[in-house]
């Protein structure tokens, strides 16, 4: 009895210490990241969804609420017509090769990135200042500068990617493996991890961090592995290219999104009725409708549709599951919609990521993807106009939004430090020794 009491006492004395060890970050260790996907460039835009590129940084970034906040740029000003913007760069920021980040060193790199969006843009620099000019207004410049596409990055013969981020590239095998090492001179302080090893096209789901398909989330949780989830940032939708609008409307009426969300995303997705998620537009709830198989059946009967095909990416098992479920919904309405991995179906199942926090920019981009060429200039500050624009896009009967998806990563119990946000930041992670 006495021995048991002593044992309990010893254990109880250890508990606070172990709890403290779990919550107190410490330096060192290598993080193994296992990804089922692969990327072949180190461009920020090509980096896996939900994983913040730790090599290069943007001038600004989005916080967890989707708002723009300073990053490499600490201040900015714009004139009244938003054609001229002045940014002040953070001091004591250096590239991985030791070169300090200044206006002149950043300007040419930024110019290349911005020219894609603003062809007539010019940048003048001096000291830590950057002045960006254009003949036309650039109301969305801030969200553009928070976009990974405008990350400031250089290349050299010895290093494919030289940025100012918390990790520098020490090994790169495109499509297979990326080795990152902590950048000791990082302006935000050295990351906790000594190194990160990212293995691509991996079939193992036993790394420190690994991407998790929705179907595996229940199993992962059962294994006491933590899940990190991004906000919903990917739209899964049906796009009808060779189908008459009335047929697409009938299919839209037949689709029940609830099982898609509940089962296929394991309640981690959101039903999509609009093109942009609620957190981005703020009005997505206005597009919500209920499935109506009866009306769908009537509409289909009038149309006398033959067999329609629904294409999905052959490697995308989630898309296949969605396609098969939609096929069942359509069958209930008397529409023969055959899922096919071939690319030339009457309808396509697409997955579109949110690329910009600017609603107007996103709507313009989606309009382009839908082939709607004539879209009016949108003011991101005018939600009514944005709503009308999105509604107009939906009424073209070219697209049926289905579900919004987050990105989910599993993390082994030895990994700590993840926080809520749009992307998992490797620099904030630390591992048990």
């Amino acid at each position: 009895m006495r021995r048991t009491a002593w044992a309990w006492l010893a254990l109880s004395s250890l508990l606070p210490a172990s709890a403290r060890a779990a919550t107190r970050p410490h330096y060192g260790g290598t993080l193994a990241v296992e990804l089922s996907t692969a990327f072949t460039t180190l461009e920020s835009a090509d980096f896996p969804a939900g994983l913040a590129q730790p090599i290069a940084e943007t001038m600004l970034r989005l916080n967890s609420r989707g708002e723009v906040e300073p990053w490499l740029a600490v201040a900015w000003q714009a004139d009244a017509d938003r054609r001229r913007w002045r940014f002040t760069l953070r001091t004591k920021v250096a590239f991985h090769d030791g070169e300090p980040l200044t206006g002149p060193s950043a300007a040419p790199l930024l110019l290349v990135a911005l020219k894609k969006t603003y062809p007539d843009v010019t940048i003048t620099a001096g000291g830590q200042a950057l002045v960006i000019r254009s003949d036309r207004a650039m109301p969305d410049l801030l969200s553009d500068l928070a976009n990974a596409r405008t990350a400031i990055i250089r290349r050299s013969e010895s290093n494919p990617s030289i940025g100012t981020g918390p990790f520098r590239v020490t090994g790169w095998e495109p499509g297979r493996k990326l080795m990152l090492t902590a950048f000791d001179d990082y302006w935000g302080g050295r990351p906790f991890l000594d190194a990160v090893a990212i293995n691509m096209a991996s079939t193992r789901a036993n790394g420190d961090v690994f991407d998790v398909p929705f179907s595996a989330t229940r199993r992962i949780l059962a294994e006491r592995t933590r899940l990190w989830s991004s906000p919903v940032e990917e739209l899964v939708a049906l796009v009808g290219t060779g189908v008459q609008p009335a047929a697409l409307k009938a299919i839209a009426l037949a689709i029940d999104r609830e099982p898609l969300v509940n089962a296929l995303t394991q309640r981690r997705g959101e039903a999509a009725f609009g093109l942009l998620p609620e957190w981005l537009s703020g009005y997505a709830f206005l597009f919500r409708t209920a499935p109506d198989a009866g009306r769908a059946r009537q509409a289909a009967a009038l149309l006398r549709l033959g067999t329609l095909t629904l294409s999905y990416a052959v490697s995308d098992s989630f898309a296949r599951a969605v396609a098969e479920r939609i096929s069942l919904n359509a069958r209930d309405a008397g529409i023969n919609l055959q899922p096919t991995p071939n690319a030339n179906g009457n309808l396509r199942l697409v997955r579109w990521r949110v690329e910009s926090a600017n609603v107007a920019v996103e709507l313009q981009r989606l309009a382009g993807l839908l082939g709607v060429s004539e879209t009016p200039a949108l003011d991101a500050a005018n939600p009514t106009a944005l709503y009308e624009a999105e509604r107009a896009l939906l009424e073209t009967q070219r697209v049926i939004p289905l579900v919004y998806l987050p990105v989910i990563y599993g993390m082994s119990p030895r990994v700590h430090g993840s926080d809520a946000g749009f992307a998992l930041r490797l620099e904030s992670l630390w591992v048990d020794p």
Binding site: R218, P259, N262, A263, R267, A321, S327
Partner: protein
Amino acid sequence: MGGPVSFRVKVFLSITASVVIAVWLVAWIVSTLVTRSFERQDTQRTQTLVTQFHREFERRGVEVARRIEAVANSDAVQQIAVNLNSPRFDTSRYFDQAQALAREQSLDFLEIVGPDGRIISSAEWPARFGYQESWLTPAVDWKGQGVFLKRIELADGSALGLITVRSVKAGDGALYVAGGQRLDQEFLTTLPIPDGMHVRLNTDFEGSTSPLIQEVRRQPRELARTSADATLTAIPLLGRDHQLLAILLVENSRAELASLRSYIQATAWAVGGGGVLLGLLLSLWTASRVTRPLRQLTASVRQVAGGQWDTRASIESNDEVGQLARDFNQMTEQLAEQRDRMIQAERVAAWRELARRLAHELKNPLFPLQITVENMQRARQTSPEQFDEVFRESTTTLLSELGNLKAIIGRFSDFAKMPAPELEPIDLNQIVREVVQLFDAQMHADGRPPIEANLLLNAHLPPVPADPEQIRRALSNLILNALDAMPQGGTLSISTDSLDRKVSLEVSDSGEGLTEEECERLFTPYYTTKQHGTGLGLAIVQSVVSDHKGTIAVHSQPGKGTTFRIELTT
């Protein structure tokens, strides 16, 4: 077609036919026995395969039942069953559970179905979660149902499955675990299929036009059909409610049988061909050994027929043919003796007939001669003054009667010395017309019932090589004969016609006709049916026709007239 078949040909045909029939019979018997044996073996092989199929079916069934039992007892399913009655239980969390369990248990089909019949998870059609699977919910002792066949709906069609169901107690209700393995062509690859045998599982027979499948669909039972190439056996596979779900088709190739039959046929042809050759050789040998005495006998018969009555067949054996030759020789000897006797008898008869005729013919003129001479003697004795008168009258009578005697002797003399015909091409129709013209007055003479002449002459009659005078004489005799046969009048019909290298001449009367006996004796010299005939008229006709290498025949029936028909070679 052709002439009579020779003995040699008959022997050849007999031997050949015997050999061919025997070979054919043997080939047929062998072929039939082989076919029956093959078909028996075929049936046995099919039955063995079907038995193996059912055994494999049962083995798989046991395996499926074991695996489904394992799924039903798994933690995952038990956890679902336990949580099912919880109000916060979310079945959608388990929508893909069946896939993992199916993989784990190597099952092709697996569905976890709630008490309300809604699919919680489907391995074969994952997207169907939430849909109704109503066939499971009726109160059934699923364990007692065992393993059964069922058509499973899939996203891209349907498949046949070996299915079993287990129910797991879930509060007041039950959770159903239904699953199994696919029954397809791959299943059949596990069967030890002998060479020449093919097995197919036909599950899509809705649009099939095969009569066998149609028949099995109408009435599900095992059926077999045999064609030249194969024997096809169809075995229906039924579901739990005895509905036809699939047809197992076992095809047994008959190539081996066809090859064997072909070999038998080839052998039969070869042996048959040899038989024909053998028949030919045997017929030649048999003909040389068997038919030679017969041919000699035949030649002897021909010689006898040709008038050589002293011909004798050589006797070379003691068998039937030798006996035949002996009999033939005996027969010819007897015939020769009979002929000699007949000739002698006929000579006697002819002399008697001649004597009778001569006596008869000569007696008529002799009697007036006797009376006249006696009158002259009586007149000389009793009335010498009138003797001269009587003498003159008597000598006149005597001369007249002596003339008659001379005429009678002349006719006999004429018949005796008929000259040989001098042949020249003659127009037979013309001769007929001329002769009939000569008799025209006689046919229409006053005080005599009229006789009508009816001529039916073939205008295309070819010239006939003949002696015109003798033909006239013969025709005259026939017409005279016909006129004598019609004392009451009637119709004289004369016709000519052309035959194959012959011409015919027919003379018919409508008189009383002749009896059969009269017909037979009609052409005998000195035979007559008339009171004042010499009996030489028709004998002369026959003599003329015979000298012209022709033939004459008489057709008559009492009361229906008489027809003489002469045929002359052109």
